[in-house]
């Protein structure tokens, strides 16, 4: 047993407790994110976070319990987490979370970090369930056509890549965020969130997020304006024509990464249209199902494009001008800029030979220096990314996607604010990985929104 492990497993002294704010991590245990964060905390000598798995939380709720019950279960189960295969008993630290007396101590207020719920099928099903039971949308306009009834959600078998009822999922996710916030503040009135669940809900909704940023004078690509709601392909064509906007991005409002993103353009002269996307379509028993493909599809037939757009518009889509990104050689690029605690940290340049830069497959990723971006360009990126983060004063960290425009005077525009955008590989800032850097910042400047 190393000295560090010994220290971690020995009872934590009161004086230590006052020095370090305990962290409650709501996430999926043992995934790259959770392990990355725990490893980072271990490396810089912080107590491990207590991990509350989404799966446990959502199941506890479904069975009539509360977040407090789920946390209690974690504590009783001794909340062991594994770091590099070694069981790492987090109980000494986790006493803090359960001890109600400690909520009065200024420094023992738990800090709560929400991480991504994705890539865990059990969790996806629970969120779809939550989305079904929280459905308040009227059964008109075919809006609920893609709905999965609550009783079916929990037995749903995963088909790889398939995009299941995204709007329903998002409703479930928003309900989850809201309930976490509500119950956490009930349980620990002074609890603080690294990223406020209200903000996470806004960041996740590309429509709301772009409006929010725009209202805070942060540059975003202009949204396609329309006096009527855009409910389908026909509405989209009309709105594009009226606005004179021939090239747009249609993005699934709650999609993450490249999921549900379409670069769409109409040739005003010939009427030809092209939609480039990772969304695949398949007709199964008379119904079109949609899935994420690992490669780009190019649709040029109106029948296909209309099916795609009808679906995206019904599920909720952000539609904005497709702005030409700055290029490096034959590739265009944008930048994922991590901002935490008001500081710009890690940055990754994402190059692509296609309009879609955040596709993980094949696209090249470079450090800004490797890509040859100069100080002025990076300064522009970082200033804009920090401004976007500042539009969320109750949130501390996000991975912000920024594009630079081409032309005589390049400007920076925010494409996306990812509340869980800190999973970045092979990049360091001040010699630290993304999680270490953030934990270091937290240690130096204990989190305080006020």
């Amino acid at each position: 047993m190393t000295e560090m492990e010994e220290n971690l497993q020995s009872p934590v002294k009161d004086s230590d407790m006052t020095l370090e704010q305990p962290l409650l991590l709501i996430g999926n245990p043992n995934n790259r994110r959770t392990l990355g964060l725990q490893e980072a905390r271990q490396r810089i000598g912080l107590q491990p976070a207590l991990v509350l798995p989404y799966d446990r939380l959502l199941k506890t709720w479904r069975r009539g319990g509360t977040m407090a019950d789920a946390v209690q279960q974690c504590l009783e189960g001794r909340g062991t987490t594994h770091v590099k295969g070694e069981p790492w008993i987090s109980s000494p630290a986790s006493i803090l979370y359960a001890n109600h007396d400690l909520v009065h101590g200024v420094n023992s207020v738990p800090l709560i970090r929400l991480d991504a719920p994705g890539e865990e099928w059990e969790v996806e099903r629970e969120l779809l369930f939550l989305g079904a039971v929280n459905d308040v949308s009227p059964l008109i306009d075919g809006l609920s056509a893609g709905m999965i009834p609550a009783e079916q959600t929990l037995t749903l078998e995963q088909e790889w890549g398939r995009i299941y009822a995204p709007n329903q999922w998002f409703r479930g996710w928003k309900a989850c965020l809201e309930r976490i916030r509500h119950e956490a503040l009930e349980y620990w009135p002074n609890a603080r969130f690294m990223n406020d669940p209200h903000d996470i809900a806004i960041m996740f909704d590309k429509r709301k997020c772009q409006q929010h940023l725009s209202a805070h004078s942060v540059h975003v690509p202009p949204t396609l304006q329309s006096s009527e709601p855009i409910r389908n392909y026909a509405d989209l064509r009309t709105a594009m024509k009226t606005a004179g906007m021939n090239r747009v991005f249609v993005k699934l409002a709650c999609g993450s990464g490249a999921s549900g993103v379409v670069a769409y353009q109409i040739n005003p002269r010939t009427g030809a249209e092209i939609a480039i996307t990772t969304v695949g379509m398949e007709r199964v028993q008379g119904k079109v199902i949609f899935y994420n493909e690992g490669r780009l599809r190019k649709y040029t037939h109106t029948s296909e494009i209309s099916a795609l757009m009808d679906w995206l518009c019904a599920e909720g889509a952000q539609i904005e001008r497709w702005m030409a990104k700055a290029s490096l050689g034959s590739s265009v690029f944008d930048i994922r800029q991590l901002v935490a605690g008001g500081q710009a940290g890690h940055a990754i340049v994402r190059l692509s030979q296609t309009p879609i830069t955040n596709l993980h497959l094949r696209n090249e990723r470079l450090l800004p220096a490797e890509a040859g971006l100069d100080e002025q360009q990076m300064d522009r990126v970082q200033t804009t990314a920090k401004a976007a983060m500042a539009a969320f004063p109750n949130s501390w960290s996000a991975g912000i996607d920024v594009m630079l425009s081409g032309g005589t005077e390049p400007r920076a525009y925010i494409l996306d604010v990812n509340p869980f955008g800190d999973l970045l590989y092979r990049v360091q800032h001040n010699g630290l990985g993304t999680y270490e850097w953030q934990m270091e910042l937290l240690r130096k400047e204990p989190y305080n929104h006020d």
């Binding site: 021939n246 353009q265 040739n267 005003p268 002269r269 010939t270 030809a272 092209i274 780009l296 190019k298 497709w322 702005m323 030409a324 990104k325 290029s327 034959s330 265009v332 296609t354 309009p355 425009s405 081409g406 032309g407 005589t408």
Partner: protein, 280 residues
Amino acid sequence: MQEVKLTVSYDDYENGIRMETLIRELAAKPEAGSLESLIIGDWGQAYENSPDEFMGTLIELAPSFPSLKKLFIGDMGFEECEVSWIIQTDLTPLLAAFPELKSFSVKGSSGLSLEPIEHAKLEELIIICGGLPKSVLASIARAKLPELRKLELYLGVDDYGFDGSLQDVLPLLEQGLFPKLVYLGLKDSEIQDEIAKAAAEAPILDQLEILDLSEGTLSDEGAEALLASDKIKKLKHLNLSYHYMTDDMLIRWKRSGIPVDVSEQQQSDEDDWRYPSLTE
């Protein structure tokens, strides 16, 4: 070499900036006199507007660019305009306006014409497009370019303007058309196999150093013909990058000792369709 690229971005165009103005501004600068390479990028919504907007100005101001050796009309990326949507025009007058030109490049073929192609000093002609009309191929086959050393043509696909067939390409494989030609690129074609088979034993290979059949739908069929040819073995370089050849064929190329680029192997899609590079 001193090079300038002029671009009118979407925002610039919306704000009333025009390529014509940028050309005038450039011509008025002292460095115009020594400018060797001028790249005309996006002239603003090039899917609606043709170079006619600025060509007259460029021709009028040609004397302000006495050192110009390279001219590129339409260097823009997919973020600015789909290559098959770029509207070109009759660019022939530019050749006459710049008699000292050595290199002329064009991107986009919609509305493009070059007739007649005559230039005493041009060494390099490059046309990048999604589909080259047979009328332009015919103009090139009739061209008078005694100094031409490099000819690089993207032939493309039917959907994007390639309305010809192998018959329209064959004249370019005849010897003596361009006596100084050492680089021939007949690329990005949906009939790349047919072209490869025709090129494999073409007399023109005797004068070439580089044959470029890249970016197209080349498969083992065309590759067999190339491998079987003694003329191909004498090339300094054979560019077959972006292709649909099998792994076995790649091994055979490796063993052949021929200086060949076989990078960017593609897989045909589920319907067994093969696409050239610039149409994907």
